[in-house]
Amino acid sequence: MSENKDNFEPRIVAFLCNWCSYTGADLAGTSRMKYLPNVRPIRVMCSGRVDSQFVIKAFAEGADGVLISGCHIPSDCHYQEGNFKALRRAKLLKRLLPQLGIEPERFRLEWISAAEGDKFQHVCNEFTEQIRKLGPLNLKKEVSNE
């Protein structure tokens, strides 16, 4: 089935850290919170474990958006400063992605604690709608120098 703007369902890959964000997502589930089903979570031990290659590969293989979520800065990280590694990479990726023809809004970094099921719900909904507005990534677009 070919996708166009009308029947487009965004595919979002979410890398969630084991200690905070995945548990937060779990809380949203056990609390019966409803959220859009577009996010495909991948559990990783730490947001600092998310190699930038994972993000690029997700985009290359069909994701319309990529979310990384970890423990709150400055001091929630189970491994002390993995979340800062994620933050630094995210800042650099945000500069790199537009050069490769991808809107930086398709990539998002969030801090969600184990107690924030409602924040997970809110982020999933908001990010899905944001990607829906941007449209499918696979459309071949002209690269501009802007």
């Binding site: 600092g48 190699d51 930038s52 290659q53 993000v55 690029i56 590969k57 985009f59 290359a60 800065i73 400055p74 400063e81 800062f84 590694k85 933050l87 630094r88 990479r89 800042k91 650099l92 990726l93 500069r95 790199l96 050069q99 490769l100 023809g101 991808i102 990534l137 071949k140 677009k141 002209e142 690269v143 120098n145």
Partner: protein, 323 residues
């Protein structure tokens, strides 16, 4: 017994890879003794027709350097593929797109407009842009087509082996020729170079502090480079951590950081993204705004991290439009 036939060809390249063959110096005599050079436009006067007349598969190995930018290059490499038992992608451009592939950041129209109309030194009042076909009173003139983007060799034809580098280090070339002549070859698709990063063998690795920290990035001309200290410890971007070694660290020994011409090691999926991971994690700050300021001191992230590998970047389909 007749000697095995060898051919060399060049596509979108600077000519440095032809130099690399000549750089074999006296060793080239050993090579010439062992093989017949069947086709080498830069050195021998053999025409395309002569190649067409050769039997299919009659050339033992063809070394092709340069990326594919024009339809003429595509035609020639397809012909050589048919005539050769082995094709070796020779040098960064054939291997990964190389410097010419940086053109993939721009569209074909932008490139032609810049080159033929906008540049300061161009005088072109009629705004003539090369076309595949041009009608003149005497008939139709044709030129090769300028593709929408720059391809690595294996995106156009099947490639058996890769010799990386800009240009290919002579030692790797000699080892490859020896391996081919003795039939002592690794599995098809291998890169004929060590699978260790540059940092692994770099002399300056010893000077690397236990924890690398960068509080701003410098371009090489912005600071006086220490001839012995690890470049990353000086805040200078060096692609050594993600780039294949085997080049004998020619640049680093010349006091210039690694720019990544040997391409990624086998374990790396995407050279640029892997480098983002490596470099960003050593930024020395815990403050969001400060991190952003430091990141912004990198002049051209994509152009720097994919300097030689843009044709093979994982996101090439996104940067490149379909023809």
């Amino acid at each position: 017994m007749s000697k095995p036939k060898v051919a060399f060809y060049w596509c979108a390249s600077c000519g440095g890879c032809e130099e690399a063959v000549v750089d074999l110096a006296e060793d080239i005599l050993k090579v010439v003794e062992a093989v017949d050079i069947a086709f080498w436009p830069v050195a021998l006067d053999i025409k395309k027709k002569d190649v067409e007349d050769m039997e299919d598969g009659s050339i033992a190995v063809t070394f092709i350097n340069g990326a594919i930018r024009l339809s003429e290059q595509e035609e020639m490499v397809k012909l050589l593929r048919k005539k050769s038992q082995l094709i070796v992608a020779f040098g960064s451009c054939a291997h990964l797109g190389g410097i010419p592939a940086l053109a993939n950041f721009s569209t074909k129209d932008e490139i032609l407009k810049t080159a033929y109309i906008e540049t300061f030194s161009t005088v072109n009042p009629e705004k003539v842009i090369p076309k595949v076909k041009t009608e003149v009173p005497e008939g139709t003139l044709t030129l090769p087509e300028f593709f929408d983007h720059v391809y690595a060799l294996d995106q156009v034809i099947d490639v058996d082996y890769y010799l990386p580098g800009c240009s290919v280090p002579t030692k790797l070339l000699l080892d490859a020729v020896t391996a081919i002549l003795t039939g002592n070859l690794p599995p098809k698709g291998s890169v004929l170079a060590p699978n260790k990063t540059n940092c692994d063998t770099c002399e300056r690795n010893k000077t690397k502090p236990e924890k690398l920290k960068i509080d701003r990035f410098y371009r090489p001309y912005e600071i006086e480079l220490d001839p012995e200290k690890c470049f990353l410890a000086q805040g200078v971007i060096c692609l050594g951590p993600v780039t294949r070694g085997g080049c004998d660290e020619r640049c680093i020994k010349g006091n210039m950081p690694c720019r990544g011409c040997m391409g990624p090691v086998d374990q790396v999926y995407d050279q640029g993204a892997k480098f983002v991971s490596a470099i960003a994690s050593i930024i020395d700050s815990y403050d969001e705004n400060e991190i952003e300021r430091i990141v912004n001191t990198i002049a051209d992230p994509a152009g720097t991290f994919y300097r030689f590998s843009l044709s093979k970047a994982a996101l090439k389909e996104k940067t490149l439009r379909k023809e």
